[in-house]
Amino acid sequence: MFRGWGYKRAFGRCALLLAAGVALQTFSGSIDPSFLRYPWGVIVALVYVYLLLAVHLLGDKWPKLRRLSDTYASLSSLTMILVLLLVFGLVRQDGRPDSFLGFLGFTRMSRSWVFAVPLLYFTTVVTLTAIDEIHHFNKHRFGTVFAHIGLSVILISGTFGCGDFKRVTLTAPVGIPRHTALTDSGAPFALPFEVTLKRFEMDEYPPKLFVYDIRDGSFSDEYVSCSAEPNSSVSDGQRSVPVRNHSSDSIHTSGSETVPAAITVSGAIGEWSVVIKDYIASAGKDSLGYVPLDHFGAVPAAFVSVAHSSLSSSSFTGTEADHIGKPALESIMVEDWVSCRSSLFGECVLKLDDYHVLRMSKPEPKRFASEVVLERSGQSKTVSIEVNHPAKVGAWRIYQSGYDTEKGKWSSYSVLECVRDPWFGAVRIALWLLLLSGAGLVCFGGKKK
C-alpha cells in the first residue's frame, strides 16, 4: 500500500518522532502543562505559527521544506495518529505507572510525550496545508479549507493553551459566601469572585416500583411508575398513577385538573399485578402509615395492592372502580405502603412471597439548579446555574456539578465547577468552521468529481 521512496522517508520521519517521544518520556516523565501558562503559551504558539509561515514562504527556495506538508507527510502522520489513538482507546487510562505501558505514558496518554510529539507533527502538517490553502484560496474547495483551518486552530489551541486551562470545584453551602475552591489534587485555589448560594432546587421524576429478588439481589426489568399524569403508560407494561390530594377526596394531576379519587391505574411487573391505591409525592411516616409532609427528609410513598397473576388476574387488574361492589378479596395477596429511604426515614418494602419484595426506587433528578449571588470587584448579580446553562464571570464559567445526593432535593449545599479556558474563544470559531465544513461536504460532497 505505502510503496516508494516518498512513503519510506515520511514513515521514517514518523518513526524518528516516536523514538523522540519515547526518549522524552523516559528522561522527563509525563508532561506537566503548567510550563505553558500565560504568557508562555501565547509566546510559544506565536513563535510556532511564525516558524510555519516561514517554512511555507521558504518552500519555493528550499523545496525540501515542502515535504512537511506533501501527500506522504499527510498520509504518514494520519496513519501514525490513528495507531496512537487505537492504543489510547485500548489501554485503560488509569495513570498507573507500574507497567511497561505506564512507563511509556500510555496509561495517561494525554500527558505522554509519545503521543504529544506525533500530535505536534500532525498539527504542523495540517497547519502548513491550511496556510497553503489560504495562500492559494479556491472557493470551490471551501469545505476542505475550512476543515484544515478549523482543525489547525483546535490543535494549536489545545496544545499551547492547555497550561491556561483551570478547573476547580466549589462547594457552596446555603447563605455562606465562598471564594475558595479546590483543585483536583485538593489544594485550595482563590477565585477572583465570591459565590453565595441563595437556594438549591430540584425537580424529580416520579419514583418507580420494582420487584426485587432477594436470592440474587436483582431488580425486575419491568416497573410501575408513580407518574403524576394519569393514564400515560410508557413502555414494557409500565403504568402511571395519579397523585392523591389528601386535603380532599380527589386526585390532582400535575396541573390544576382534578379527577375522581376512585380512578387508579394498575400495572404488571412480570407475574405480579400491582395497583397503586394512593400516592403521596412528599410524605412522612407516622404510626398509621404515611401522611403528606413538606420538609427535609420527606419521601415519596405509595399504598399498593399486589397479587400474583396466577391467582385471579382478571378480577384484580384494571381500575379500582372495577372492584367496587366485588372486591375479590381472595385474589389480593398483600397490601401496604411502599417507600424509598431518605436521611430521615428508612426504606419501606412490601413482602410478596419468600423470595420477592416490592421496592421503590429513589426519584431520579429531572432538573437541578442553584440560585447564586456572584460578587466581583464590588458588583454583584444573582444568576441561576443549572446543567447545560453555566454562568459567566469574566474569563470564568460556573457549572452546576452536583449536590448532596443523600439528601436529594433537600440538599443544603451545591457543588459547582469553575472553569477558566481563555483559549476557547478561538476554539469556538474553529469548531463552527469545522461544522460549516462538514455541512459543506454533506451538501456538495455528492457533486465532487
Binding site: L90, A439, K448
Partner: protein
C-alpha cells in the same frame, strides 16, 4: 400507544422494505429503469414513513426524544439505513442496495424486538440540551451512510477479486485478446463505482464531523471541556481519522482493495465507538458515555 406497539409498526415497515427490495431486484432493464424504479422507491419510502411514524409516537409517549438508550439509537439507524439505501438507489440505480439496506434495517429491528433496552422516560439533566437531538441524529445518519459505504466496499472488493481472477484465468489460457475475456475484464471496478464509494464516505464524513463538533460544543456547555479524552471521544476521534485517512489515501492507490479494507476496518472502529466501548474493559468506569 407505547413500545408494545413497536412490533406492529416494525412488521409493517419491514414488509414494505422487503417489497421495495424485491421490486428493485426484478427490474430487468437497468439502463431504462427511471419509471420502473419508482414502485421500489415508493414502497421503501412508505416503509420508512411507517417506521418514522412509530418514532414520533414513541417520542410523544415518552415526553422526550427517543435517542437515549442503545435500543433507541437502533431505531434511528434502521430508519436512516433504509433512507440511505433509497437515496443511493434513486441516484445510481444499484439494484443490490435496496435488498441489502432492507436486510440490515430488519436485523436492527429484530434486535430491538428481542432486546428492547427501552425502559424509562427519565432524561437526565445533562441530556436536556439543544444539542442532544441534532448530535445523535447526525451521528446515526453518518453511521447509516458508513454502513452503506461498507456494503459498497465489500461489493467492490468482491468485484475486483472476481475481475482479477478472470484476468488470471484468461492469461493462463492464452486467450487474453478474445472478446469473451475482454467482457469479463469489464466486470471489474469502474471509476464510477469508486466515485460513488468516495461520495458516500465523503458525505458520511461530513455528518461525522458535524456530529463530533456538536458533541464538543455541547460538552463545553454541559461540563466545561470541549474535549476530555473520554473513551467514547477517543474512539470517535479514531473513527474520524480513519475515514479521513481513506479520503486522503484512496486517490493515490493503484490497488483499491487496500482502500476497501480500510473502509471495513473503519466501520469496525465505528462499531467500537457506537456500542463496543460498553463492553471494552479499558472503558469500564471511565466513560460517562457508557449506557
Amino acid at each position: 400507544m407505547s413500545w408494545n406497539s413497536f412490533i406492529v409498526f416494525a412488521i409493517g415497515a419491514v414488509l414494505f422494505w422487503i417489497a421495495g427490495a424485491l421490486v428493485s431486484i426484478f427490474i430487468k432493464k437497468r439502463d431504462s429503469v427511471d419509471r420502473q424504479a419508482l414502485p421500489a422507491l415508493i414502497l421503501t419510502c412508505i416503509g420508512s414513513l411507517v417506521f418514522f411514524a412509530f418514532i414520533i409516537v414513541l417520542w410523544r409517549s415518552l415526553n422526550r426524544p427517543p435517542l437515549r438508550t442503545m435500543g433507541e439509537t437502533r431505531l434511528w439507524y434502521s430508519l436512516f439505513l433504509s433512507l440511505v439505501g433509497a437515496a443511493v438507489y434513486a441516484k445510481w440505480r444499484y439494484r443490490w442496495i435496496l435488498p441489502f439496506s432492507a436486510v440490515m434495517s430488519t436485523v436492527f429491528v429484530c434486535i430491538n424486538i428481542f432486546k428492547p433496552e427501552i425502559h424509562s422516560e427519565a432524561l437526565m439533566p445533562a441530556l436536556q440540551s439543544v444539542w442532544f437531538v441534532p448530535h445523535v441524529i447526525v451521528y446515526m445518519f453518518a453511521y447509516s451512510l458508513m454502513g452503506a459505504a461498507t456494503l459498497f466496499a465489500v461489493f467492490l472488493w468482491w468485484k475486483t477479486s472476481r475481475s482479477k481472477s478472470s484476468r488470471a484465468e484468461s492469461a493462463s489460457s492464452g486467450a487474453a485478446s478474445d472478446v469473451s475475456s475482454v467482457a469479463r475484464v469489464e466486470t471489474g471496478v469502474t471509476s464510477e463505482d469508486l466515485r460513488i464509494c468516495d461520495t458516500l464516505v465523503r458525505i458520511g464524513w461530513g455528518f461525522l464531523t458535524m456530529g463530533i463538533v456538536m458533541g464538543a460544543l455541547w460538552a463545553k456547555q454541559a461540563w466545561g471541556d470541549y474535549w476530555a479524552w473520554d473513551p467514547k471521544e477517543t474512539w470517535a476521534a479514531a473513527t474520524w481519522i480513519s475515514y479521513l485517512l481513506y479520503l486522503h489515501l484512496r486517490p493515490h492507490l493503484k490497488d483499491n482493495r487496500y482502500a476497501f479494507a480500510l473502509l471495513i476496518f473503519s466501520f469496525i472502529l465505528l462499531q467500537m465507538c457506537w456500542w463496543g466501548i460498553n463492553y471494552l474493559p479499558a472503558a469500564q468506569g471511565f466513560s460517562v458515555h457508557t449506557y
